[in-house]
Structures are given as structure tokens and as C-alpha cells.
Amino acid sequence: MSEWLLIALIAVPTLTAVVLWALPVVTGDRIAALVGTIVSGVLLVVSFVLWWDMRRPHCPCTYQLVDTYGSPPRTVPGKLMPDVDINVPWIPSLGVRFHLAVDTISLPLIALTALLVLLCCVYSLKITPRIGRTRSLIALLLVIETGVIGTFAAADLVLFFVFFEIVLIPMWLVIDIWGDDHDRAGRRRAATTFILMTVLGSALMLLGFLLIHRHAGTFDLVFLGQHPIKGGHGVPLAAAILIAVGLAVKMPLWPLHIWLPDAHAKAPTVGSVLLAGVLLKLGSYGMIRILLPVLPDATATIAPYLAGFSVVAIIAGSLACLAQTDVKRLIAYSSVGHMGFIGLGIATMSPEGLNGALYANLAHGIITGLLFFLAGAIKDRHDTSDLRAIGRALYARLPRISGLLTYACLASLGLPGLAGFWGEMLVLLGAYHPADWLPRATFIVLMVIAGLGAVLTAAYFLRLIRELCQGDPAENPPAAFAVDLSRIEFVTFAPLVVLTVFLGLWPFTLLNQWTFL
């Protein structure tokens, strides 16, 4: 039963996309959006059913939870503890199997994906890019959903790679076709840079996978998790570096982040939401799922460097935000900083840091999704996302939207009590208290720098609020907007707002998922 649900999670979106494409053109865009909404809504429900199902006592991870309640062992974290497990041979001659499995690390991310796609579809019911062709847009979103969920559910390295790559072309099309309609060359360049850098990264990652295969003779993550590859130099190190680089492009870590600002800034609203909310998570998820459990020793070797680059990403991303003049670009750069925190958390290799990274993954998806929705709302109303062109005093013109923007900014800068805090806090705690085999002094220095980065994060978000929301309304006469916050926007944003508060005030639901670490 659960197996079929998992299969459905992956197959249904793509099949729906195919059906949508096959429908005659006269089928309205609204209907397409409606279909997308229903399908992704069903997927959300399914993912929650799977999650609930996992918490029942038949699951091995639950035993784990009970066992480790008192004194959890400091084992290799991130290891796949398959709950729902589908394992059939696919290409025997290459050693590739169609192996899907989910556990408590992947299911929340799957649910997040389903949620964000659902919201994007709901949003598209009323608000669509000017270029039209909503039907194809919805279909592509669904294909992206397949790729992302598949990546989160893959238990075979090659399958992971395949799903990882599925996302690329749809996302490229989304940016290239529906992107910023004032700058055709720019959006094409952005889309192409995005896809080319990612492809190069994933090709390198594939090399790493193949090195693992040469070394261990299998691509199976469950097996590899139980029999990690020992040794921190030579082939395992090369594999770890290649995989880390490949995932770092996606994540993206400084200095491989250069595709991100353009891609986010030029993408349509729903594209930005998915790109930031979900796609970046593929990189961090891959690190947690593959690097740590499969190549623990090699990861320990590169962890300080990974942490170093992450911290540079935090600082450089925040600094770059301080000098941005474009809302979407600024939010995009803020993702660089936030993903830097996640990278730092992973690099600590400690339960705290990993908990933090996982938590920050989800929180960043929700908050940045909200931010991009809001930026899209502002952009729709002004036909530009340039701060100077929009003018100041948005509090006077669009009080609700700008109020929500302030809220989202505060959440994003890691305000305690909102979702962004726990991730960052746990990451910093992890950096203070990294795994035993890591150089603690280095990590403490990095923690301090990352802490300063948190201040910079606050600085640029406050700057954004000051430049955009506050200001003398007399200087920027209010334009006539039909609505401040339309109903569909309200419906779309509300779940994210509520989740931000919930995750901020009640982190235990999620944190308890990962105590088996």
C-alpha cells in the first residue's frame, strides 16, 4: 500500500503533465491550473499519509526512536533508514536498480515540495505570467515536482542522479519562456547559465558516484549506508570532493553560486518559489544523504573546507545583498547566505548541526517561498522589481503586502520564534560542538564569523524594509492599485505564514523526527 503511494507520488505528476500537454489547446488555462492544484493537493495528502504511516510502530525507525531516547549513539548521521522500500533491478549490466525509499529525513522535504507546488498551482489559478501558456507552465511545474520528489526518494545513487537531472530542462524552460518579459536576452542567459553550471556539477557528481561504485561495487544507498567506505584520502576523498562540488553547485555554495541570482531574478514568481524553495534543497539533501553516511572519513577530511566555503557564502551573500537594488535579486542572494548556514551545519557532522541543516532546509523553503511570492506580488503591481523604480513607502501603498514582506524578512533573518531561527541556531550550536574528529578551534572561529553573518543578514533585510516599505509617502505618491492583497494571494500566502509561526514556536514536531540521527 505505502509502496503504491510512493510510486504515485512520483508517477502522478508526470502523467498529469503528459495529459495536460495532450489536451487540446482550447482547454483553458484555468482548467489546467485547477488540475494542477488538485493533483498537487492530492500529492500533499499522500505525502502526509506516508508520513503518518511511518510513525506507526511497524517502522524500524520508530524502534530506533524509542531505543535512542535516553542516550542516542553518536553514529553516522544521515543514513537512510528505509521505511517504504521499492527495489527492482533496472539496468543490471550497469548495476543500476530502481530503488526508492523514504525515511524521516526525506518525507518532510517531500511534503514541502508538494506544498510549494500546490501553492504555485493555486497561485496560477488567478495570477499567471504575462506570456500566457499557463497549461505548459503547470505541466512543467508538475514535472519538476516529479524530479524533486524522486530525488528525495531515491535510494540508488544513479536514480538520485537521474531525478536530479530531470528538473533541469523544465526549470530551464520555465525561466527561458516565462521569465522576466522585459529582458529576453537576460533571461535566456540566466537560464542557460543555470542549466550549464548545474549540468557540469552533476556530471562531476556522477564521477564521484562512479568512483564509489568502483570502490564498493554498488550504487545502493541502503547498503552503502550500512557499509560506509572507510578511508579519508585517495579514491574516497576524490569521490567526496567530486560529489561535494556537484552538490555545491546546486546548493549553491560560494563561489559556485553565480548562476543563482540571475536565475532567481529572471524567473517567474512560481519559478523562483520552486527554485529557491525546493531545488536548492536537492544539494543539501544530497550532502546529508550521500556524503555523510557513505563517505564519512573522506567527508571528515573535506568538512573544514566545506565549512569554510559555507561561511564565506554566508558573509559574501549577505554583503552582496547589502548592495543589491533589485528585490528578487536580493532575496536570491539571501538564499546564498542561508544555504551557507546549511552547508556549515552539514560540515559540522554533528547531530546538532545536521538537525539544524535539516530544519533550516525546511524553514528556508517556506520562508523564501513566501518572500518570492511577495516579491512577485510587488513586481506584478509595479512591473519591475527594481527598488529605485518601485520607490519607497510601500507601507502606505500596499500595507498588507508590505506588512507580510516585513514579516517574511524578519522570519528570514532568523528571528527567534519564527521558523528561520532554529535551523541557524542549531547549526551554530553544531559548529560550537562539532564531531569529535573535526578541528574544533576552526569551527569555533567559523561559528563566530557566521554569527556576524547573521547580523549582516539582519542588516540587509532591514535595509530592504527601509528602502522599500518605509519612507515618506509624499515623495512617492501612491499609485492606484486595485487590491492590496487579493484573495488568491491571501490563500496562497497564508499557509506559509502559518507554517512559519508554527515551526518557529513549536520545533519539536520536526526535531523529534530526526532523533534517530
Binding site: 541570482p261 547589502l322 548592495a323 546538532e352 554569527g451 547580523v455 527601509r466 519539536f508
Partner: protein, 588 residues
Amino acid sequence: MIATAWRVAGVGFSLLVVLAAALLYGVDPQQTMAGGAMIGEDFWFSYEFRTDGLTVLMLAIVGVVSTCVQVYSIGYVRERIASYTALVTLFTAAMVTVVISDNLFLLLIGWEVMGVCSYLLIGHYWERRDARAGAMKAFLMTRLGDVGFLFGIFVLGVGYHTFRISELGSGPIEPHTLTIGTILLLVGVIGKSAQVPLQTWLPDAMPGPSPVSALIHAATMVAAGVFLIARLYNVFVEAQTTLTVLAVVACVTMLFAASCAMAAVEVKRVLAWSTVSQLAIMFAGLSLGTHDGRRAALFQLLTHAAFKGLLFLCAGVLLHQVGSAAFVVLRRYTRRGASRKQLRVTFVTMTIGLAALAGVPGFAGFFSKDSVVEAAWEQAKDGSTVGWIVLVSVCVTTAMTAFYCVRMWLWVFFRTPALAGAVGAFEGDDPMADLDEPDANKLRDGSWLMLAPMVLLAIGAIGLGYTDGVHLNVVIALITTVLALLGGLAAYSLWHRGADPRPVVLEREYGVDPAYQRLFVVPVGWLAKLAVGNDRDVIGAYVRATGRAGVLASQGFRKLQTGNVQTYLAAAVVGAVALAILAGVIGS
């Protein structure tokens, strides 16, 4: 309608806090918890709450001040009522969270939510540039401190293997870990309570609505620092080094802030600096590391909440009626005591508040300050350097406080007898300003909604001094009174001569703010440009260069495709020869 609902809810919540304090009074300390998760190998984390005497005291302060502020705001705030009231309520709630929390992270939630609320409330008048800048500065500086605070939590929490406040201080811990942890916590406290060197945000936060200033200065945000050290006193007491640092910081701050207040020319700014200075006195008391010191500090906190809240509310009336709280504007209404007469209640209550602040015997501030001095004397007697430093500093500060209180009182409400302004006097800039008589008849004392809280707090500013029972050390009382008198006299004589000498150093507040601007803000701007430039011109350039190289290579290959088959053949033969040579090299 909605606004009214919000107001009712706000006042109701504040009253609820008061009620809670009343109900909890005298009840045995209790602890509860909610939720929970392992966040690491051996860290259990859940929301833990506790109630004890300190909690009740703080709840009472917070509740009362918050109620006053909420009620006062009904008359004061006219626009954006919903967000204002909601934020004030949230502010109160955050402070309540801090007060009742028994977990460092839960405490941090309240701690930082207060920061955000203060940011948003200071920026309530976001049309004004100074409000925007002040709000941002307030948040960033406190955030900087909070990062230190967070690290302090890590150090102590990991050191003690718990994040539960009531369990801290028990169990073995390395001394230097303790010192580092407490000093890091101190950083957060310094940021929140605007102590040197993170003091500059508080004076700049004055563009916010006056009731908010009252809330921030009297009961919530800045007091939270004092509360925290009081809460973690058993930990801090262990760390002597930290206490010494605290003492030094406190003493420097109280003198620094008092001297700044002596040169400030705006009522709210004077009050702001005085808050910094008064807080420093509390910290000084805490830094003594004795039970008496803690008690004195909390006593000071209590009285200060009353009179400083009162003073800000009074300043709010001035602002409301006159439209400005600058001395130079207020002075125009002093002819024939116009402002005194028109704003009778305000004048009286403000006088009471200033008297309490200046430490006039009989008023609350007098007793609380004396208790700090007394505690310091107890220490100093035993030869403690810290004790001596605190003692001297507080005494000097007493004189300075009296000076600026009297100065303000006189310049704001009384016309100087001198015919022409002397050094630095306010009319000096504009000789005709004195003749430009504004219409003082329009001044009103404000509605009862605003006056009632002021009266309530005025009563507190007198009466709270006696709550602890009067046990005066006569010598100390005498000395401080004399010192206050000296300060007051100096202010009076200057006023009498129409002179208000304001040394440039003090007027610029020692140039700290511009220095910070130059040291931090400007370099960060440069770095930001550098980061963007780096992305655009270095990393981006590599990416672009890769693309361009690809295009150029492609064009190069196109050029090679001449259509001349013999060049193709030549290339092939040369290639073969090259391969042969290469192979020869490899082979040999």
C-alpha cells in the same frame, strides 16, 4: 472599530499580566514544561517555565507599566493603531516570556522578539528619516549583542550540559568556560541595555512614540538585561572576572551617559541618556556580586521603572502638545509660566519624576540609589577595588544626575532671569526667537486617559521608595544628598546666568557614533561593494570568460573550416605526425 478591539485586547492583556503577578505573589516557586526534543547527542531541549519571586516582581513591573502605556496610548496614538497596539502587546508578551522562561532558548525568543518589536515601534513613524535610521540602528546593535548572547548560551549550555536556567550553576564546569560564557552573555546584555560600547542606539531610538520609549526604558527591553543577570546571578557570582568587567562597563557607562545627558538639548534624549546611566547603576549594583548588590539593583529597577516611565509619558504630553521636545522649542512657552499653568498635571508629575531621578531625599530614586551605594560601601569596606570604583562612580553620577535633572527642569519650564543668553544658551542661535511668542493658550494637559497613568506612576515614583522599608545609612544619605545638591546648584547657577555651556565633546557624545559609522558601517559598505564586484568582476568574469572562450573557440573552429580540402589534409597529416611524435615520447 477594529482599532478599539485591539486597544481593549492590549489593555486587557496588560491587566492580565498584572493579575498574574498578583495571583503568583507569595506562591511557592513552580516549574512546568512543554514539548521537548533531543537536539543533539545529549541536549534535551523543551520549553520550560518557572515562577518565583523575581518573576513576580518583574511581572508586576511589566504589567503595570504596560497597562499605563496601553491606556496612555489610547489618548496618544492616532494612526496605525492596530499595528501599534498589537506590537506593544507583543512586546509585553515577549518580556513576559523572558521573565517566566526557565530555558535559555525560550528566553532568547522573548529577548529577540523584544528587539524586533522595539525596531518596529521605533519605526512607527516610518515617514521620518530619523525614525527609520534609529529603528534600524536599534535592531542591528541589539542583534550584534544577541549573537554574543547566543554564543554565551552555547558555551554555558554545553558546559553545564543543560540549557535549563534553574540547572545552570550546578555541576562542574571549567572556570574559563564559565568566564567566557558569562562574558558572552554579558555582550548580549550590554547590547540590550545599551551599555558602553553598544550604547548609541538608545538615544537614537527616541523618534519612536513616547509611550513606547516609556515601555522600552521602564519595564521591558533595557530592563531585560538587568533581569537576566539577576536571574543568572548564581552563575555570574562564580565568574569574578566577568563581574569585574561588568563593574568597569557599568561605571564607565554611568559616567559617560550622565555626561552626555548633561549636554543634551532635547527632553527625550536627556531621558534616554539618563536611562543608560541609571541602568549602569543597576549593573554596578549587580557587579558587586553580593546579595545586597542584587537586591539594590532590583530595587533600583523597580523605582526606575516608575519614574522613568512617568518621565517619558510626560515627555509624550509635551511632544503631543508642543510638537517637539527640544529645549529651544519648549522654552518659547515659558513666558509667564504658560506651560506650567496650561500643563499643570504634567508639570507636577514631571517634577516628581525628575526629583525621583535626581535622588531628592524622600523620593523613590533616592532610596534605591542609596541602597546601591550602601551595598558598594559594604564591599569597599572590605578593601574590594570593585566596591570602591562603584562607590565613587555612583556618587559622581548622583551629582551629574542632579545637574541634568535640574537643568532640564529649569530650562523647560522656567524662563531664565538673564536678559541675554550667555555661552551656549538656546536663544544665542536666533536672537529673534525669544520675541516670536507662540500661542500658549492652545496647550492642554491632555485627556484623562493620558493623565491617569502619569498620576499613577507619579505615586509610584514617590511611594515605591518605601516598599522595602526605610533603613537609611545616614552618612551615605547625607553624602549623596550633598552631592545631588551640588549638582543641582551648579545647574541652577548656570541657568540663572542664562548660560548653558555644552562642551563640544559632550554635545557630540564623545564622537562615538561617527566613529562607529567610520569604523563599521562605511567599511561594510565597501565590503558590500567588494562582494558585488567580486561576483560581477571576478567569479562572474570567469563564468562569462568561459562562455566567451567557448564562443571564441567556436568561431575559431569556424574560421579553420575554410572549405579548402588541402588545409584539412594538411591538418590531418600534421596531426598524425604529432600523434606519432607524442606516441614516440610516450613510448620511450
